[in-house]
Every structure is written in structure tokens, then in C-alpha cells.
């Protein structure tokens, strides 16, 4: 269902006003305030944007493919009109002075930028619990986490407050919360979407992508935000091939789907395994070829990722020093204390942990054994996927080891939390495009996500496969 296209069409044609759409979203946000999905939400700002869109429509202008569509941004995406806090105390009240490129592209397409969603601080977390403003909650069970780090984005879309949100994904931070909340979450190939204006966590991993209720909506948002940006030298000049078109008539016939059965065993919630196996079976009976593959590197994914991303984060977060941005801690005597008091008291425990780990693996005695070694291990991941994508078009995997867990369940044990990312990290290490889509629910009614990966820059193949999976499930009557 192309909800965003229908909405934009209604606004452009005058069938409804952007202000009406905005007011309804604001009402829903107020009704669901207890979800704590938003770090920032300014009603007047939302209405002003909507009024401007209506004004353009009344003058006969076409505001664009997302005319009047409310899209929430994650709290690590800079805009000049709302604070960008990254859900961190150290950035309380921080006001940037430019639009992140993705924000500018959404505006140019006529979208209404709808607040900034709560997140794990500086995108470090898998549950949403490491947020200075308290965690966002799961949209259907408030005793559970929505997943992280794009927790508020997943919660807001899952609860129907907004039809779309942007998230950022470094090791799974779009895909995991999407799976937990029963929505679509898409991480493009590294280099497809500009990171300019995204507060950096790990610069060789971070990517921005959409969380939506349908594949079509994810494809549409992707097409609006993707493409070379001269202000981000890590974006590629490749043309953005249409993901929407790939969904049109997407068929499983002839699609080669790689499945590693060894990853569907230990540590995976049994209902998730059953759902994945059933999905693979349905793809097979619909004409896809299920190809057995072996992802031998998978067991090293979490360790490789945490060495590399913590190192990059320790460098990126060195700019938060109580001098240039955000908060300076009180009681500092001398410059050194400005740094140490601001950072120690301004960063939360998870961020401190990762900065420490990153600093350690980069320090003189440890660099070769940890960081340089992990960079080489990353190459082994890339090589393994190159081999795998010769034998298949996409890889089918779970998104998460469990469905949404209860608040407080994992947060006391950092390593247990890190292992939540075991299925999402491999695609991040190799820069692959990856998508999570709803596959049903478990016995407690909690959403289960299926994850699809494709070769670098093969977003067209990825969306075709997602569409094919959706139709195979529908054909079997198994889609909720």
C-alpha cells in the first residue's frame, strides 16, 4: 500500500490540506505522549510548515512527491529550527545552524519535518534505554523496549503517529527497532545517502534510512534522500536506481535466496526460527530458488564491530569537550577540568564504555592486536559476502535473536545487549544494503522481522526480493 503517495496526492490535489494532515498527526502524538517517542516536537513549527505547503498548493505549485507528508527525524540529525540533542545531556539545547542534507531533501520534496525522535545516546544502544530523556516505549506493549538506537522513530511509526521517520543505522539501529515494532526499516548501501548533518558515531558504518509501514513508502523516502552530495565525500556518484519500480510486480520466480541454516539454531527465539523457515519455504513454493550458504564469519561479527565502531566513536566524540558545542559542566577549575567534567558528567554510561573501549584499542600498545587486526577481519567479511552473492541474489536472515524484550532486561549486561545486533552487524561491516520487514508475530503478539541483504548498490534487487517475499507470504495467507 502506497500510503505516502496517496497522502501526497491528496494534498497536491487539494482533496485534503497539509494543515489537516499535520493536525491529525499532532493529535495522535498528544494521545500517545506516554510513548516518549519524541525528544523534540514543536506543534507551531509543524503547523507553520504545513501552512506553507497549503499556500504553495493554492498558488498552483507542486510542492513535490512528499507534499504534506509528516516525517520525523532522529535526534542526531541537525536542523536549524529544533535542538539536536542525540538524547545526550552533553548536547542539551544544542541548536545547529544548517539542515542535514537528508532534511533539506525531504523539505524540497514537500515533506513536513515532524520533530526529533528519542534515541539511544549518540546512537549507541539496541533498546532505546540509553536516552537522557528516558526510553521510548514499545508501541503495543509499554513494558517493553522498542529497540534502538532509532527507538523513537520505530515507536512513532509503529504507533501510527507519523507514517514515516528517518533513522540511522550503524550496526542495526534502523533494522532492529523496525523488527521489534513491526514496521519496515531500510539501511541503504554505505555511500548511497549523505551523512552530512548526521552527528557521527562510526563514520565508516553510519547510514541514514527510512522506517515506514510499507515497502513502497520506504522505497519512496529512499529515492528522495539518496544520491551524491558534494558536502559528503563518502557519497557515491552512482545514479539512484528506482526501488519503487522494483516493487512493481515483484515476483519470487527465479530469485536466488541464500539461507544459512546454521544461523537458525542456538540463541534464536524458536518462533522466529519457525517464521523464517516458513518464509523460505513459501518463497520456494512460489518459484524462488533457496540456496544453502555458509556465513562462517558471522560468529565474529559482534567482536569485530565493537572494536571498530568504538574506535571510530572515540575519535568522533572527542569534539564534545565543553568548549565548542552543548553543555559545559559547572565547577571546572582550569581547561583540563572543562574537558573532563563536561565529558564525564555529560556522557551516559554506555557512551563512556564505548569511548573507553575505542581509546584502548587505538592506544599504542593495543593498536595492532585489536584495531588493525579488526580492520583486516572486516576485509574477510567483505570477501565472504562477495562469494555468497555469486551464488545468490539476496540473503534471508532473522533481524533479531528475540522479539522485543522487557525494559530493564538487558541493560545491566552490556555484552548481552551487544549480542542483540548479531544478525544486523554483518551487513554493516560489508556496507551492504539491508532491510527488515514484518513477518508476523510471536505467541505474545510481538512483531517478528525478516531481514534481507543484497550486494553493494543492489537496492533494486533488494526491494524486488522484499516485494517477492511479501507476495509469497500473502499467497500462503500467512501475512498478518
Amino acid at each position: 500500500m502506497a500510503e505516502l503517495q496517496a497522502l501526497a496526492h491528496a494534498v497536491r490535489s487539494g482533496a485534503t490540506s497539509a494543515l489537516h494532515v499535520a493536525d491529525q498527526a499532532l493529535e495522535r502524538a498528544a494521545e500517545r505522549r506516554a510513548l516518549n517517542a519524541f525528544d523534540q516536537l514543536d506543534d507551531a513549527l509543524v503547523r507553520a510548515q504545513a501552512a506553507a505547503i497549503d499556500e504553495r498548493v493554492s498558488r498552483g505549485e507542486d510542492p513535490g512527491p512528499l507534499a504534506g507528508v509528516p516525517v520525523a527525524l532522529k535526534a542526531n540529525m541537525v536542523t536549524p529550527d529544533l535542538p539536536t540533542t542525540c538524547s545526550s545531556r552533553i548536547l542539551q539545547g544544542y541548536e545547529g545552524f544548517y539542515d542535514a542534507t537528508v532534511a533539506a531533501r525531504l523539505r524540497a520534496a514537500g515533506a513536513i519535518l515532524f520533530g526529533k525522535t528519542a534515541m539511544d545516546e549518540f546512537a549507541m544502544g539496541s533498546s532505546g534505554e540509553h536516552a537522557s530523556g528516558g526510553p521510548a516505549l514499545h508501541p503495543t506493549d509499554p513494558t517493553r523496549v522498542p529497540g534502538g538506537s532509532s527507538s523513537g522513530s520505530a515507536s512513532a511509526v509503529g504507533a501510527g503517529i507519523v507514517p514515516a521517520a528517518l533513522g540511522s543505522d550503524t550496526g542495526g539501529s534502523i533494522r532492529l527497532p523496525a523488527a521489534f515494532c513491526g514496521v519496515v526499516g531500510f539501511k541503504p548501501t554505505y555511500g548511497r545517502v549523505s551523512r552530512r548533518g548526521l552527528v557521527a558515531f562510526a563514520s565508516s558504518f553510519d547510514q541514514i534510512g527510512p522506517l515506514t509501514r510499507s515497502l513502497e513508502d520506504a522505497a519512496l523516502i529512499y529515492e528522495v534522500i539518496a544520491g551524491r552530495d558534494p558536502l559528503d565525500a563518502t557519497t557515491v556518484s552512482l545514479p539512484v536506481t528506482s526501488a519503487l519500480q522494483a516493487l512493481d510486480g515483484a515476483s519470487p520466480r527465479g530469485l536466488r535466496v541464500g539461507v544459512d541454516a546454521s544461523l537458525l539454531g542456538e540463541g534464536l527465539q524458536p518462533e522466529i526460527r519457525t517464521s523464517l523457515e516458513r518464509a523460505a519455504h513459501q518463497l520456494g513454493t512460489s518459484g524462488a530458488e533457496i540456496v544453502p550458504i555458509s556465513l562462517k564469519m558471522a560468529r565474529y561479527a559482534v567482536a569485530t564491530y565493537y572494536v571498530l565502531t568504538s574506535a571510530e566513536a572515540s575519535s568522533n566524540l572527542s569534539r564534545f569537550d565543553g568548549v565548542h558545542f552543548g553543555v559545559r559542566a559547572a565547577g571546572a577549575e582550569g581547561l583540563e577540568q572543562v574537558y573532563t567534567r563536561s565529558r564525564t558528567l555529560g556522557f551516559g554510561p554506555e557512551v563512556r564504555r564505548r569511548i573507553l573501549l575505542g581509546t584502548f584499542v587505538l592506544s599504542a600498545g593495543s593498536y595492532d592486536a585489536y584495531y588493525a587486526h579488526a580492520q583486516k577481519v572486516r576485509t574477510l567479511f567483505c570477501r565472504e559476502f562477495e562469494q555468497v552473492f555469486q551464488a545468490c541474489d539476496v540473503v534471508l536472515l532473522p533481524t533479531t535473536p528475540t522479539t522485543a524484550f522487557r525494559l530493564g532486561n538487558q541493560v545491566r549486561d552490556p555484552l548481552a545487549m551487544y549480542l542483540q545486533d548479531a544478525y544486523t552487524i554483518p551487513a554493516s561491516l560489508a556496507g551492504l544494503p539491508a532491510l527488515s520487514m514484518p513477518l508476523g508475530v510471536d505467541e505474545a503478539g510481538l512483531p517478528i522481522g525478516a531481514q534481507l541483504l543484497a550486494a553493494p548498490f543492489a537496492e533494486t534487487t533488494l526491494f524486488r526480493a522484499a516485494g517477492a517475499l511479501r507476495s509469497a507470504l500473502a499467497g500462503a495467507g500467512g501475512l498478518p
Binding site: Y94, T189, P230, Y300, G334, T344, F347, L356, A369
Partner: protein, 104 residues
Amino acid sequence: MSIDRDTVYHTARLARIDLELLPAAEAETLAAQMESIVAYVELLRELPTEGVEPTVHPIPLTLVPRDAAARETPGAAAVLASAPAHDGATFLVPRVVGQEDSDG
């Protein structure tokens, strides 16, 4: 190689984080967590990487220089506006030079 308590405290200082500003129990917990995380990543030792090139970026990148043409910039005022202490032209920090008992 492991990470002992002294190393944790030393590493924190390198990162301009002062563990003594945290409640003692929290600093202890952090040190213990660091030890177990570092022990976990030792798993990577199983993998031989001689002759393997490091991956710095997952996709090949080429540097594309921009045109050598002047353009508008936001200006100092915009950049300073969100700084904790500034005088309109520069960031302000405690005096470092010329003080008898300055830190560091």
C-alpha cells in the same frame, strides 16, 4: 592481552574522562565491564589475517576535490551561537597560560 584496573583509569584519562567523578561503585562496575568486553573481543585472535589488507571503508572511495571557487560560509556568529562560552568572535576557555597552578 587484557585490561587491568590501572589501564582502565589510564585509558579514561587519555579520553579526558575522569572516573573519580563517578560514584565509586559505578567506576568499579565500568572497570569490570571493560575487562569482560576486552576478554570477549579476544575471540578475533582465532582468525589469521597475515597478508590481508585492512578495510578502512566498505566501498572504494575516490577523493573528488571541489572547485577552487569562493562561496558563502555561515560565519563565526552562527558557529559560536551554540557554544557554552564565547565573546562573539572566539570560544572562551579558562586561562591556560601565565597561571601558577594551571592544570595539565
